[in-house]
Symmetry: C2
Subunit: 119 residues, 2 copies
DNA sequence: ACTATAGTTAGCTTTATGGCTAACCAATCA
DNA sequence: TGATTGGTTAGCCATAAAGCTAACTATAGT
């Protein structure tokens, strides 16, 4: 327990870096080798590898090595995790706004009836 | 330019910490003072204030001080930003999966006709 | 005026992050 | 077998993150 929380930590953390988001975006289009992933960046390979590791440990990416090339692929469930979290928060705040709106409506009505009384 | 990117950096970064997510969740239910926000945590006030600052600089939270109390409120547009980003990625990978499925269907049909030919 | 409340500032520690180079495997290819 | 390619390990550096204490400021309540 208190574990769902650390999973979210890692996923959000992984996505807080532009390089890693770019990698994720690339992988949305399908698998890619480490080399392919590295091409668009002017960054030493080991640095990029670190990013891939972070993406892996967050669960956003998995990889498998065959021969000398390692193929990486997106693990969409991890992204779904954060979508769910966000949707949950949205639900909560929208419910609150709804209540607020109802309350304001009530106030308006009361205001009107007060005006009538004053006439 | 290359600026939308840093906004996402900050929002994702802000959400990568369980304490800050808890604050955001609390604020979904409505405004709260720094003191109120601090209560549930066993953490020195200055530490908590740092989190609030981070949330503010990410755009997730705004605050205003009146008298000696500072009220904080959620800025839902910032959360919407990341929802949009995620939805975009989802769209891309789902399109790819659709194409993949169509491709597999095509293979299946070809397979069938081959079987027929072999008879 | 005095005290308590609500934040704030400053400054310190420890650990994590993001980048680098250099040297090192392990599979292909010629 | 020898060179190339694709990735990996190890170790270094600078900066940022997350926490703390202690001391301070500015309202509000009595």
């Amino acid at each position: 327990m208190a574990n769902q929380s650390t999973q979210l930590d890692h996923v959000f953390g992984a996505l807080s870096d532009a390089t890693r988001r770019a990698i994720v975006m690339r992988l949305c289009d399908g698998e890619a080798s480490v080399g392919e992933l590295a091409k668009p960046f002017e960054m030493a390979l080991p640095s990029l590898m670190k990013h891939i590791r972070i993406l892996e440990s967050s669960g956003l990416v998995t990889s498998e090595k065959t021969g000398r090339v390692r193929m990486c692929s997106l693990q969409t469930e991890a992204l779904a995790t954060v979508e769910v979290w966000l949707a949950t928060q949205r639900e909560i705040w929208e419910q609150r706004l709804d209540r607020l709106e109802m309350y304001v409506e009530k106030l308006k009505k009361r205001e009107k009836s007060n005006v009538r009384k004053r006439k």
